[in-house]
Symmetry: C2
């Protein structure tokens, strides 16, 4: 749903077919895009006109859907996270390599243009190596309407699988990809929503760089305040609409009523997207190099360097998630793999699992599946 405007605005993409168990979803799709509707993934995958499949199903279904699509010779774009279990992730990686098809994991905020620009600035070498990264994000994530499984960690619910993966993708991208070890703690503070609502993680990279990642989806404070009051989706956030998510939820009587509210945001629902006049973002971020601190914002990158500070503006693409489809196009039509491929997705997922494991055992966790930023030094 959140990605649909970007697809609609992209002349390179034709939505030629979909798979959905519900007839209304298929009909809505056909009415709107003129494409064919299948009631199974297998049906969709047998359609010879389909080059790539966008898998936006719940996380725990990603493995089956991805393997089916890849075996049918399709490239796939998989909504982050790659999946929930590391074993499933490895199966997707293996299948992509066997079939020679491309997998891209996204949209994720590591595609945001100001993050990509920050990566370019780091790679210019002008500011020396990355030494320390600081990322924080305070949101009302856990108090937005949720389907029941989104509040169950084992099913990929909670902030670690849904939200940490964004922060981890961004920080791995800017830190070179190779996380060495981490220590973390998670919080689960609301018995009515018994999954991880917050975490703090301390990461070290093989390069010697280190990073601090903090996320609260239980937050009352909104860290958009530190981002010029721009919301996650690039919209103008309203500082005066305090506490809307929690107060809306107060009026909800049951889990099914809440799930119905949530489904308003899925495809075919009537939820409207806010106007995005800035780039999307995932909270305040400071990247410290020897000769500058780099601070991506929704509108560009602040460079605080030895001799001067300056702002490098990064215009929006019009459709905010276009970078994801640039990557998909490059992979499908030019055989150029994305940074955020299946191995990258596995590596980020490993960090998410390590956050949970470190929090549970109160010991550091060593990482084994990390990959560097593809095609980079």
């Amino acid at each position: 749903m959140l990605t649909q405007p970007s697809i609609a605005a992209d002349a390179r993409i034709m939505l030629s077919a979909c798979a959905a168990p519900r007839r209304e979803s298929r009909d809505h799709f056909s009415d709107r895009f003129g494409g064919r509707g299948y009631d199974t993934v297998e049906g969709l995958c047998s359609d010879p006109d389909v080059e790539a499949i966008y898998i936006a199903t719940p996380h725990q279904m990603h493995r089956d859907h991805a393997v089916t699509a890849l075996r049918a010779g399709k490239h796939v774009l998989i909504d982050k996270p790659l999946c929930v279990d590391l074993e499933d992730a490895q199966a997707i990686v293996d299948c992509a390599e066997e079939t020679g098809r491309h997998v891209i994991v996204g949209p994720s905020h590591s595609f945001d243009l100001q993050i990509q620009k920050t990566l370019n600035l780091i790679e210019s070498g002008e500011f020396g190596p990355v030494r320390m990264i600081h990322a924080l994000n305070y949101t009302d994530f856990l108090y937005r309407p949720r389907r029941p499984e989104e509040l169950v960690t084992a099913e990929g619910g909670g902030v670690v699988f849904s939200q940490a993966v964004h922060q981890v993708d961004i920080v791995r991208l800017l830190g070179g990809g190779l996380v060495d070890s981490l220590c973390a703690a998670t919080g689960s503070w609301d018995p009515a929503r018994p999954t991880e609502c917050a975490y703090s993680a301390h990461l070290t990279f093989r390069s010697g760089a280190f990073a601090s990642l903090t996320y609260s989806g239980h937050a009352h404070f909104d860290s958009n305040e530190f981002c010029g009051w721009v919301g996650e989706l690039g919209n103008d956030a309203d500082p005066d609409s305090y506490g809307k998510a929690r107060s809306a939820l107060t009026g909800v009587a049951s889990a099914s009523e809440e799930a119905a509210l949530k489904s308003m945001r899925t495809f075919g629902g009537v939820g409207a997207l806010p106007d995005a006049t800035h780039n999307e973002h995932f909270g305040p971020l400071i990247v410290s190099c020897d000769h500058a601190d780099l601070r991506p914002t929704p509108d560009g990158v602040w460079i605080y360097a030895d001799g001067e500070k300056r702002f490098v503006p990064v215009p929006t693409h019009g459709a905010p998630r276009r970078a994801v489809f640039d990557a998909l196009w490059a992979a499908v039509r030019e055989d150029r793999p994305a940074i955020q491929d299946a191995r990258w997705g596995l590596a980020s997922l490993e960090v998410c699992h390590a956050i949970l494991r470190s929090a549970g055992t109160r010991t550091p966790v060593m990482l084994n599946h990390q990959v560097p930023v593809r095609g980079r030094s």
Copy 2:
């Protein structure tokens, strides 16, 4: 030097004597305050009119000076940190307990009025237990003029002993005092100033709360930007005076020239203090409780609660460090020990050492000398 205006403004305090090896310092003191000047600490401690001694000597001298003063029956206020070595810290603790005299470690930003107010709000119980604390501070600390030993870790130099101790004091105060374990990394990025310039630490408390502490004294970004452009000393910071410390240092030819520049800031020097129209602070801070995030700022505390957000203003005291002398007065004249006593100072120092040790060994460190917030639940 930074504390002197608070002393001058406090009618309860008479500066009746000092000890200083340099005659000019003693003469300046006598001219200004009419007090007696001694050339040794022993001399000062034998003065029967002296009730309490403020030890503002370099960190590595604190033990000898404190023990001498305590044995002479004086109470002492010791500039943070308590000292550098844990063994010295234990000796001061033991001596304070043997002599029954009071030790206060400060000024430290844990005395800042908005921090004290945040503690009161936590203790009100209205918002539930503290779950997560996030503290960051980006400054040009390492690029201000330094004496040579301030750039040598073993002599108490670098950001861990001078700066972490503030952040640790604040976070321990708001988290209940009892740190269980920590993981940390430190950075030393400038060969010309070869000591710790930055750190990131992940702390867990015995209560289950956790905290993330990040500090850069190598920073180009100035986190006062997230504090309404108020500087550490409560002054209005100028967003347009970018990079002043580094550029001033560029013109300095030698360590001795730099030390001379630094001595302008010590007592008897001519450095002027900026106007403090706000409270002092030590960077952005977010304390997450079950039912609110509390965010102390130089002018008060933001309470982002379940149903509403509100700001509780905290007026300045006029003299910003008055809270330290309130604590000294309570200890000396009313026999009420301060929270920030010798044991507290030892506990905070232990955390600083643990940051260095964890960074060196890349393993977590367990804490053994922690104490709860005195007189609190």
